[in-house]
Amino acid sequence: MATIDTVPSDLTGAPLARRVSGRRTRQRRRLNAFRYITFTVFALFFLLPLLSMFRFSFEGSTPGSWSVSAWTSISSYPGLLSSIEITLELAVLTSVAMVLLVVPTMIWVRLRVAWFRRIMEFISLLPLTIPAIVLVVGLAPIYNWIEHYNVSALMLLWAYVILALPYAYRALAAGLDAVDAKTLSEAARSLGARWPTVMFKVIVPNMWQGILNALLLTVALVLGEFTVAYLLSYTTLQPALFEISRSTTNAGVLFSASAATLIFAFVLLLILSYAGRRLRRGRP
């Protein structure tokens, strides 16, 4: 029987390769475990309060019981339905105003006034750095003047456009960055397109996802905004819920109204995501 006197040279590295491969597998497993643990901890951190809120909105008169009374009583609280209505209207108007103001401006700056872009980015971040109370101090004289004309809470839309600007700007900037706006605009112009056609028939259709994201962020902000509306003495959803919490011992309706707002925002997100996918049909 033949014996092997020497180890063939092509096998000398095999044990080392196996050790390296085993170490990499262990590292990968540790990394995956870390990811799962981190994800679970943060998921619980965010989801547990939400689940508690939902559970409490179905709490009956005795602890542990179930009831839909908190949901059905939403309409019975004076002013709550009208505040929901005005908040939804504000959300729509603010979103539309934001898109109509910011989208053409951003495209124009990107294509024609490139030096202004950094300044515009800085301006868009200012509302994040100014506390709401300071913003209200600046806006109060203007809104006092507006109130003389008995104009509704819809006038809050201008303040909300400012508040939502940082979020909407970033979403729109991401959408604009996804296309080579300069080349597309030059190609369109060389084919005979004027600037409005370039902006609304060439650039905007290619940044729909950014626009939808900006709309969603604006709506979410308006639905949850409290400070400016309360300090300017307008009754939108959040100030109305706050008043209810001060005037009643039964807090169930607070949670049902908040949960309803959350569900609405989630459904809106699904609708906008679906719309975004449909608009992206056939695109990369």
Binding site: V179, L184, E186, S190, L191, A193, R194
Partner: protein, 349 residues
């Protein structure tokens, strides 16, 4: 284009450029980055405004006319197709702006797509076709509006070599078929020399030479053209009268008005031939082969003469007789040469 000038701050992009393109002609503007070739094209397209000068097309002054009113078709380097439109819709875009009827738009778009051999891809989106196909669609879109002038801004530079060669020939075929006046900007000499009726070599905002490709290559007007277009050996010589003596060889000067004295002769590699050195003696044109690069039908042989390295381009069969390490004697063909004031060596590519 007459007296065109354009500056970007302190940088002069175009310096009093004069350029006339004849009807139906294809002119290629060639030059290194920053020479002003793309600026020239963009001024013609109306995408930028000149600081001085005039632009006339068909006898009409369009210097201050907006880009959308210049009636020019343009193909960009890349990413110019509208991502949200299909291939057919892209080609119809310009026609839609001109309020052509649906039937007219579709007919014209089909014709253009057949011209570029892409009729079967009409319903695809740009991201669903290759880079070469995208550029063909861009060409069809530019031609669909029946422009007066076709402008091509390095349309092949983003493509791989094989596709580039195919598309280059296709562009030339279509340009000849349609008979459209064309300005083609490129930094690739092979492209420019292969398809242009005339090649304009630019440097620092000026046109160094505008001539047919053969003239630009074999009779360069300036040392820059000689060095930029193709490879050039720079060999020290002595000018006397109408000739320059290079390492014992007397070569006629291309420009007889060169002052006598030391100068650098610019010799093409094809003008250099090699013979095996059997004497074993050293001389000004005797050296050692240090490398041989196979290029297909020809090979490029690098010879070390001691104080300078010389390139010779020979048929491969001949080059194979002089492998690396062999001693050779050079012969320089007495073609007319340009001279410059630079240092010795090889330049180009």
């Amino acid at each position: 284009m007459t007296g065109l000038s354009r500056r970007y701050g302190s940088v002069v992009a175009l310096d009093n450029l004069d350029l006339v393109i004849q009807a139906g002609e294809l002119i290629a503007l060639l030059g290194p980055s920053g020479c002003g070739k793309t600026t020239t094209l963009r001024l013609l397209a109306g995408l930028e405004e000149a600081d001085a000068g005039l632009i006339h097309v068909g006898g009409t002054d369009i210097t201050h006319r907006a880009a959308s009113k210049r009636d020019m078709g343009m193909v960009f380097q890349a990413y110019s197709l509208f991502p949200h439109l299909t291939v057919q819709e892209n080609v119809e875009f310009g026609l839609r702006l001109r309020r052509a009827s649906v039937a007219q738009r579709q007919k014209r778009a089909r014709e253009m797509l057949e011209l570029v051999d892409l009729a079967t891809l009409a319903d695809r989106y740009p991201h669903q076709i290759s880079g070469g196909q995208q550029q063909r669609v861009a060409l069809a879109r530019a031609l669909a509006i029946e422009p007066k002038v076709l402008l091509l801004d390095e349309p092949l530079s983003a493509l791989d070599a094989k596709v580039r060669a195919q598309l280059r020939d296709q562009i030339r075929r279509i340009q000849l078929e349609v008979g459209i006046t064309t300005l083609f900007v490129t930094h690739d000499q092979e492209e420019a020399l292969a398809i242009a009726d005339r090649v304009g070599v630019m440097q620092a905002g000026k046109l160094e030479q505008l001539a047919p490709p053969a003239d630009v290559y074999s009779r360069p007007a300036t040392p820059f053209v000689a060095e930029f277009v193709g490879l050039t050996n720079k060999l020290a010589g002595e000018v006397s009268g109408t000739t320059v003596t290079v390492r014992g060889c007397e070569l006629p000067l291309m420009d007889a008005a060169v002052p006598a004295g030391a100068a650098m002769a610019l010799v093409r590699p094809e003008a250099v031939t090699l013979d095996t050195d059997s004497t074993g003696l050293s001389g000004p044109l005797t050296g050692t082969v240090i490398a041989s690069t196979f290029l297909g039908a020809t090979s490029r042989v690098t010879v070390d003469l001691g104080d300078v390295t010389v390139l010779a381009q020979l048929p491969t069969a001949e080059a194979s007789r002089h492998p690396a390490g062999s001693r050779v004697t050079l012969t320089i063909r007495p073609d007319p040469v340009l001279v410059s004031a630079d240092r010795a060596g090889v330049s180009g590519e």
